[in-house]
């Protein structure tokens, strides 16, 4: 006892009345408007964009060579001119129409392949082999072949877009299905769910973070492939896409128009990524706490 009390000197016990914590206000206090604005994701992103634009403008003015590097204002002028006279809108719509077609077909095929893959062991092996073969193959490398098979025109473009979407989406979906927790699977089967209902009600929502990642990668691949393909074989019939718009302007050494074309490509990318996919994310995986 004396031994231990030398090591641990007797400490006074205490019991006190609670001090008043009312002065700090509510335990849970809403953030002020300024705090919320500063923390806002959109505001932060916008600030970054503005910074990039300022750097661009300053650099181009300092360089002072419209042929090599037009200023931001010049690019925006060209951009709004071509929007106003409808050329750019027309070109963009042509591209987007082809893209939507290819993306939709790619998704449908991916859904078919993954369903087949989860249904059987041999299906899984077929899909993983095919994915291993074709995923690293750049879609644009298939364009010459597509031109031979389908000729100059939309079918060739759709073919290469399907190729760029299919493997990314199928691979991610399969990985997602595989990583669904065993407990969740069992709790689904416990309710007697089987087949398509099991896949639709349990597997797809549970694997949604991966599926969404696949959709995003697929979209980026498809958009890139499309613009590149349009640049390679230019115009089909009379309506070229956004790639053709850029190609034409380069032939005229009209760098500002090239820039305005590139700006359109970037803007569409930004809108799809930060409006469509971000909204989808906020309403699904973020809301469900499956992804931060």
């Amino acid at each position: 006892m004396t031994e231990s009390s030398r090591q641990n000197p007797m400490r006074v016990e205490r019991e006190i009345e609670l001090i008043d914590a009312g002065v700090i206000g509510d335990v849970e206090r809403p953030l002020t408007v300024v705090e919320r604005v500063v923390n806002n994701d959109a505001v932060q992103r916008l600030t970054i964009l503005v910074a990039i634009i300022i750097i661009w403008e300053l650099y181009a003015r300092w360089l002072d060579n419209a042929l090599l590097f037009p200023t931001f204002t010049e690019t925006v002028q060209t951009f709004s001119r071509d929007i106003a006279n409808g050329v750019l809108i027309d070109r963009t719509l042509t591209s987007l129409r082809t893209l939507a077609l290819g993306y939709a077909f790619g998704l449908a095929l991916a859904a078919l392949l993954t369903t087949f893959a989860v249904a059987s062991g041999i299906g899984t092996r077929i899909l993983s082999t095919l994915t291993a073969m074709f995923n690293p193959l750049p879609a644009i490398a298939l364009l010459p072949l597509a031109l031979i098979w389908f000729g100059l025109g939309t079918p060739s473009l759709v073919f290469v877009i399907i190729h760029s979407v299919l493997w990314a989406v199928a691979l991610n979906t399969l990985i997602g299905f595989r990583s669904v927790p065993e407990t969740l699977r069992m709790s689904g089967r416990n309710l007697g769910l089987k087949g398509a209902r099991y896949v639709g009600l349990i597997l797809i929502p549970a694997a949604f973070p991966s599926i969404l990642a696949g959709l995003k990668i697929g979209w980026a691949f498809a958009w890139r492939t499309l613009v590149a393909a349009e640049l390679v074989f230019g115009v089909s019939s009379r309506s070229g896409g956004i790639g053709w718009y850029i190609f034409e302007a380069r032939n005229d050494l009209d760098t500002a128009t090239v820039f305005s074309g590139l700006l359109t490509v970037i803007l569409i990318g930004l809108v799809v990524e930060s409006v469509i996919f971000r909204t989808l994310e906020a309403r699904t995986v973020n809301l469900w706490g499956m992804q931060r």
Partner: protein, 264 residues
Amino acid sequence: MTSTLLDVSGVTLQYKTPRHLVTATYRVDFSVHQSDRFVILGPSGCGKSTLLKAVGGFMPPVEGSIRIRDREIDSPGPDRMMVFQEFEQLMPWKTVYQNVLFPMKVTRRFAPAEAAARTDAVIEKVGLAKFRDVYPHMLSGGMKMRVAIARAMALEPDILLMDEPFAALDALTRRTMQQELLALWEQLRFTVLFVTHSIEEAIIVGSRILVLSPHPGRVRAELDAGGLDHNSIGKPEFGALSKRINYLLFGDDQKQHTSEGGRA
């Protein structure tokens, strides 16, 4: 005889790992009656969770039979609702309300209006009315557990299968959950098959305790434990039963070595 709900006789369970064939249980018999709080107790490796999975219909026995209401169990079904140890059983993409409603919706056991009313009633009963429209990731472990129990109970299964449901909770929450489970049982008198490795929990929760020995799981004893709960922890009956189970589980070896077999 008529009150026998679940009958397990001579059940041997085996499963394969990539390198081994593991025998989880060997010729286990027991029968669960209506409104039993039947606890399967044993150290890890006695195949108690595997046994529960077999009752759930996830695993056919190699030998013997498992019958519920005189019907052979051959696949999973909503008449035997499982409550798992992991909290992942709640669907992260559904709110508390939708999670409780979901089993009733997919099994189509109740009309839509009735299912909705039952969902609200059972959420109220487990004290989560304020969290009705919240997603599972915002709930504490104890609250998730209550949702899991609520969704299982709302379906009125023949039997509730609980696989160490409180093992992952902290001691205080576990105690509360045990009390809540008992309170709910007082109210509804459902039948529950409960797996645990804690002797104390088995005595508190169970009305009947099946003691399994490990490697492979074999029945060591079936004991009565009705009437003992948290309030009886300090009482001599509780201590005596706890000692007896301790002896059943760990005492044999010592008896062979020291003839007295005394335990601290």
